[in-house]
């Protein structure tokens, strides 16, 4: 409880300050209770941080370790903003004055001096290192990114579908009590009573009930196949690159499709389907035979998805070292998938070496694209490339879709 001891008209800075006419009576709250200026400025700071995070989003999210897909959020560690002043350079050795039991020549260590400049401004604030962990919704980020990178929205292939849904349609004189439309019933009653000789209150004929009807909905289903080469030649880093790329592809596709299924397939000389969690941890040994992976995908499509009703996407990540003897089979298998799919993409992860798609698989995709199928490829050497790859695919994909209708 705040109380002024000087009740006899002490200077009040309130009305000047807030400009909100906080002319408080003796009983009313004091002007400074009305809002917290510190909190206001803190919120402004927060807003600025978010703005700047947003500006640098592609760089920030391309770092592999910000993805937390279960929670549908991305955590970005940020430093508090510093308001800069002219300052002297931090010297190698800083002199200061202290107090206590110490003799000349004493040496001790002060861990608080190990990082960051500690010189104080006149505000007396040592802008030390406090890290904030801002959490962003993935959906928001994806929206910003699409805006930022001016990526096109995909056009979905709309299939005839069995999916049906109840929707509200029409009224009837009979129905379940829970569907009684009061407003409409009342109107009916008023209309009836307008005629001469009407009975006064509601009668059963006045009642109107909302009706439901079954409607077919066009299906906007999509399934994305992520095919990953897990052979011995793929390093952990390669796989992480692929994962980051896959993550953002899923996010991009989710913008368009209400229900998006993901299928994870890994292959070496054989192919297996994995759950999402296993997918990025498995590691096989041995060579690379891409056709096994493509065949597996084909198999799954045939078994579970109808290409006429479902939008199929295939993204393949590999280092491209397919065995030469496999070329013909891989081509055949992939072409059959590409014919059914909305788009097939290939990212070549080759950290260190930048061979730029001059590999077996690279050539295969180039042929496919040349044949007019919706296919594209991109070389991914570094986390910085992830955004280029995502942009490349989404622009190419929408072009491909425009072309095919």
């Amino acid at each position: 409880m705040a109380q002024s001891i000087d009740s006899g008209g002490g200077q009040s800075v309130g009305p000047n300050a807030s400009g909100a006419g906080a002319k408080a009576g003796a009983e009313a709250a004091k002007w400074y209770d009305l809002f917290s200026r510190g909190a206001r400025d803190w919120l402004r700071h927060d807003e600025k941080v978010r703005e700047s995070v947003r500006k640098h989003l592609p760089q920030i999210v391309s770092g592999g370790d910000v993805i937390n897909d279960a929670a549908r959020t991305v955590r970005v560690p940020v430093r508090m903003l510093e308001h800069y002043h002219f300052r002297l350079r931090r010297p190698e050795e800083q002199q200061g004055a202290g107090q206590g039991k110490a003799k000349p020549g004493d040496v001790f260590s002060d861990p608080s001096r190990q990082r960051g400049p500690g010189e104080k401004g006149p505000g007396g604030q040592d802008e030390g290192e406090i890290q904030l962990l801002l959490e962003f919704k993935v959906d928001d980020i994806v929206d910003w990114l699409w805006e930022e990178m001016q990526l096109p929205n995909l056009k979905a292939r709309v299939g005839p579908s069995e999916e049906s849904e109840y929707i509200r349609e029409g009224y009837d004189r009979r129905g379940a009590r829970s569907r009684l439309d009061r407003r409409r019933s009342f109107k009916e009653m008023v209309k009836r009573r307008g005629t001469p000789g009407a009975t006064p209150t509601f009668i059963d004929d006045d009642l109107r009930f909302r009706q439901l009807a079954r409607r077919r909905q066009p299906a906007i289903h999509a399934v994305v196949f992520f095919l990953l080469d897990v052979s011995g030649s793929m390093s952990d880093r390669d796989r992480k690159l692929a994962k980051t790329f896959f993550f953002w592809v899923v996010q991009g596709l989710r913008r368009e499709y209400r229900s998006l299924e993901t299928v994870f397939v890994g292959h070496t000389t054989e192919a297996w389907e994995f759950t999402e969690n296993e997918f990025f941890q498995v590691s096989g040994t041995g060579g690379t035979v891409s056709s096994t992976g493509f065949n597996k995908v084909r198999e799954i499509i045939d078994a579970r998805y109808n290409p006429g009703r479902c939008n199929i996407y295939l993204f393949y990540a590999s280092d491209g070292d397919n065995s030469v003897s496999d070329a013909a089979e891989a081509r055949e298998s992939l072409s059959s998938i590409a014919a059914d799919a909305c788009y097939t993409g290939y990212v070549e992860v080759s950290s260190g070496l930048s061979r730029q798609l001059a590999t077996e698989t690279g050539r295969l995709y180039a042929e496919l694209a040349a044949a007019g199928l919706a296919a594209g490829s991109y070389a991914l050497n570094d986390f910085d490339d992830v955004w280029g790859a995502v942009r490349h695919f989404f622009t190419a994909e929408s072009r491909a879709l425009d072309g095919t209708g």
């Binding site: 200077q11 209770d33 200026r37 909190a39 508090m80 800069y84 002297l88 004055a97 202290g98 206590g100």
Partner: protein, 455 residues
């Protein structure tokens, strides 16, 4: 409630006692306010101040500090006539009695210290109202021009808040536009004859006004200089610069006399409490406990502190001075000095030994080494964070024909170059209001000249 009422009963008696003890102060309005508001005053430095995100950062640091329980504010006092003192509502009776006495010490100091008086004459004795007025004016600017544009100006102005020149007056005239000392014409035989032939023609032809360079001398008061000479600033933007500058003029004496001022107030609260026979026994004991917490040099669980508690240092120095030379001499020092003179003249060798002050050098890896005792060097170690309002010496030296602003950092005074990364950011801020290129000269690590530019 009752605690507050009884505390109020003591205010008059403490004031009377202070008057009898020779303190002389303007009336002070005491007000008990909630802790949250106390914290805001500490963050902003004034009860109502302009909005800016950087205060939000300080606010969070304060909140964290408070949650960790290592800072507690008892009072904040604003000099003026009348002075304003805000007391934390959570203070107990004993604390409030102590704080009241402390506030009167501050009020005496700010009324009599010459630096305070000078700055108050310039800024007026109603800084609290002025600052509130600035806040309102800036709020209006935000409504008219939008947050973004106002923030750009505040970013620049507040980043230069230490760069004022308190030796010159708050309200300065612009530089003279023309050089006054035009060279006298050579007084040769030809001219004499020429003048004799036709006096009017001789007088006309020679008067050539020469434009004075801007600035005519290196200008330390960057806020004033930019507000007055920026080629493309709008008048409301200039007003914001001048508002920030006025508040800096208010903050300077607070900053430059902190050790003296806090010491003086601590000395007087201790003394008034001792002499106040009307305070109940228990309250006195509690208040003295509180006093010893405030002036404690080293935290309870530590042997050594790597900074100096200004309350403790000032308090001990004033006690020593009054014990040795008497109250009148102390009052004269209080009136005439600031921390620089106070420390250099009155922090004696015995006192240093008595208090256990030392000088150290800290390396970046966290190793701290205590250095040899040397009095002058110790004085400077205490004072070095206070030189030039705690900021490097940066002055405006020239404005080129294309409007480029040349700034120069005087590394011979500061001993080393600027933190380049931060300086670049400051230049970016300033560039957005100066709206022409900016060049800053400083030195690099090796001591050779270096130019930073924006953009």
């Amino acid at each position: 409630m009752t605690a507050e009422e009884t505390w109020q009963n003591y205010v008059q008696r403490i004031e009377d006692l202070a008057n009898r003890s020779g303190l002389s102060f303007h009336p002070v309005d005491f007000e008990a306010v909630p802790d949250s508001f106390m914290m805001e005053i500490a963050v902003y430095g004034l009860p109502v101040r302009m909005p800016h995100w950087s205060f939000g950062v300080r606010y969070i640091y304060q909140l964290i500090q408070r949650h960790m329980g290592n800072s507690r504010l008892f009072e904040v006092v604003f000099p003026g006539n009348p002075g304003h003192a805000y007391l934390a509502a959570s203070n107990g009776l004993a604390e409030n009695i102590l704080v009241t006495a402390h506030v009167l010490g501050h009020a005496d100091f700010s009324k009599n210290n010459l630096l305070f008086r000078r700055c108050q004459e310039q800024v007026s004795e109603r800084i609290v109202e002025h600052a509130a007025n600035h806040a309102r004016q800036i709020q209006q600017a935000i409504e008219t021009y939008g947050m973004q544009r106002v923030e750009v100006v505040l970013d620049a102005a507040l980043s230069l808040e230490q760069h004022i020149d308190v030796d010159l007056s708050l309200r300065r005239e612009r530089y003279p536009e023309y050089l006054t000392d035009a060279k006298p014409l050579v007084d040769d035989a030809f001219r004499k004859r020429f003048a004799a032939l036709d006096p009017s023609a001789a007088a006309v032809g020679v008067e050539v006004k020469k434009r004075a360079p801007v600035p005519p001398h290196p200008e330390r008061d960057l806020l004033w200089f930019i507000a007055n000479y920026a080629p493309e600033m709008e008048s409301w933007e200039r007003d914001i610069f001048l508002a920030v500058r006025e508040e800096s003029f208010y903050f300077y004496p607070v900053f430059a006399t902190q050790i003296m001022n806090e010491g003086w107030a601590s000395y007087w609260h201790a003394r008034l409490l001792r002499e106040a026979s009307f305070i109940p026994q228990q309250a006195y004991v509690d208040a003295i406990k509180c006093h010893s917490d405030v002036v404690r040099p080293v935290a309870a669980d530590q042997q050594v502190a790597l900074n100096i508690n200004p309350y403790h240092l000032g308090f001990s120095m004033w006690e020593k001075i009054i014990e040795k030379d008497g109250l009148d001499a102390a009052r004269a020092i209080m009136q005439q000095d600031d921390d620089f003179g106070f420390i250099r003249n009155h922090l004696t060798r015995e006192l240093v030994e008595e208090l256990g002050l030392f000088r150290y050098s800290a390396r970046n890896d966290g190793q701290v080494k205590v250095l040899e005792h040397e009095l002058t060097a110790l004085h400077e170690a205490v004072l070095s964070p206070k030189y030039n309002f705690g900021a490097p010496m940066v002055s405006a030296t020239h404005v080129r024909n294309d409007g480029t602003l040349e700034l120069s950092h005087d590394s011979s005074v500061d001993g080393r170059g600027l933190d380049l990364e931060r300086s670049r950011k400051v230049l970016d801020y300033v560039h957005r209001v100066w709206r022409r290129p900016i060049v800053l000269t400083t030195v690099n690590q090796a001591g050779s000249t270096l130019e930073l530019t924006a953009p």
